[in-house]
Symmetry: C2
Subunit: 206 residues, 2 copies
DNA sequence: TTTATAATTGACTAGAATGGTCAATTACAT
DNA sequence: ATGTAATTGACCATTCTAGTCAATTATAAA
């Protein structure tokens, strides 16, 4: 089915994937238009259905591609020896940005998968959910946290802050085709992380 | 145009508004279906277009209704004398929940307006943006904050935490028709606020 | 009861968009 | 020169679209 798709030039492949990611995350499965995808990706209608049997297969492919790409990029590049949660989180942010540079809509699509009510999609996300919880727990030194704060809640706040920062930046750059200055973004994220460090760590760890 | 709509029974009016809010926030303007709206709202196709000239007018009406409803509920019920930011925020959360009980999709629709690229919609939101910034600044006693934390960032983190908590709960209840226990929700939000208070306030204000 | 007005219906358009097909063409190796 | 794989886009049946309108029902007034 997608043997043909797997061996085309990487640039073209990514272009198609990105257009499909965009269309699906904008309009969900039903209202997403294959016509739109091929137009945006600059390929013919026939070619898309030469690569994928039908719309559903395309979506299926994207789902796996999305999950696997994120999973592998993070699993292969994260340093699990680091025990400081903020350093851990910085790494993840860095890796996410790297993924986003190549696949700008991958996390939007991931959110779509995640928010979906369909049972089998949720199942697909189990690996991703496991990774997500591992990021915020595996080998982390929680003794650095103030004892008065509820750990779980503090961690949620950390996670939410990063997610919301990501969403708001992504919105800020929507429509504007000026190249995004990821270094500046990363720097600002770091300063947010510093605020969170002061907020949640005991004095001796600042 | 909407004189007819304004004077129908309130229950029916709210039903139509809510179905339209839902459809538009799910599929955006173009892909939202008036057929779907009338089916969900249990009214005839003709009636919807008797109330509103066309789809665009309906959307227009909803935009204003959305902004005005939120604006008024908050403006009329907030106590601007309270100077503690967390007490301020608690009030807002309470009011938002009250609005949500009546119009479950109003904030989803609001987000749609907010994220829109269309210039005139952004303009409509100016009042809402002004209110939003007033909530987190007017008459607030910022001296309670630790001096080491950057105020603006701390405030964003507070805002984001509440927004994300709202979104995640809203997702959690999606599909489930069991009645939502808003009191339990409010209590949990309070506990998050306590975490934030510890995080950002000087010791003497805890 | 009659009459006038307003509210409501749903079958009905004309046109657009949909996912998907396929014979024909091009590109590319051998 | 030949065979295979990649690519096109016109085409199709079907579904869906926003919007209309003559007919019906409900409401209120006289």
């Amino acid at each position: 089915m997608n043997e043909a798709f797997e061996k085309i030039e990487i640039e073209k492949r990514d272009r198609i994937i990105n257009c499909a990611f965009k269309e699906f995350s904008k309009y969900k499965f039903d209202k997403a238009s294959t016509n739109n995808i091929v137009k945006e990706a600059n390929i013919s209608k026939g070619l898309l259905f030469y690569y994928f049997n039908n719309k559903e297969d395309l979506f299926e492919y994207l789902s796996e591609f999305c999950v696997n790409t994120i999973l592998e990029e993070i699993k292969n590049n994260i340093d699990w020896n680091i025990t400081d949660i903020f350093e851990r989180v910085k790494q993840v942010v860095f890796l996410k940005i790297r993924i986003t540079e190549r696949y700008p809509y991958i996390f939007h699509f991931g959110k779509l998968l995640f928010d979906s009510e369909s049972k089998d999609l949720i199942f697909k996300n189990r690996d991703l959910m496991e990774l997500s919880s591992k990021i915020y727990s595996y080998n982390i030194d929680f003794t650095k946290f103030k004892e008065e704060v509820e750990l779980k809640k503090a961690i949620n706040i950390i996670r939410w802050t990063l997610e919301k920062y990501g969403e708001e930046s992504s919105n800020r750059f929507k429509g504007i085709d000026k190249e995004i200055d990821y270094d500046a973004l990363l720097e600002e994220i770091n300063s947010y992380i510093e605020v969170l460090r002061i907020a949640f760590y005991k004095g001796e760890y600042l």
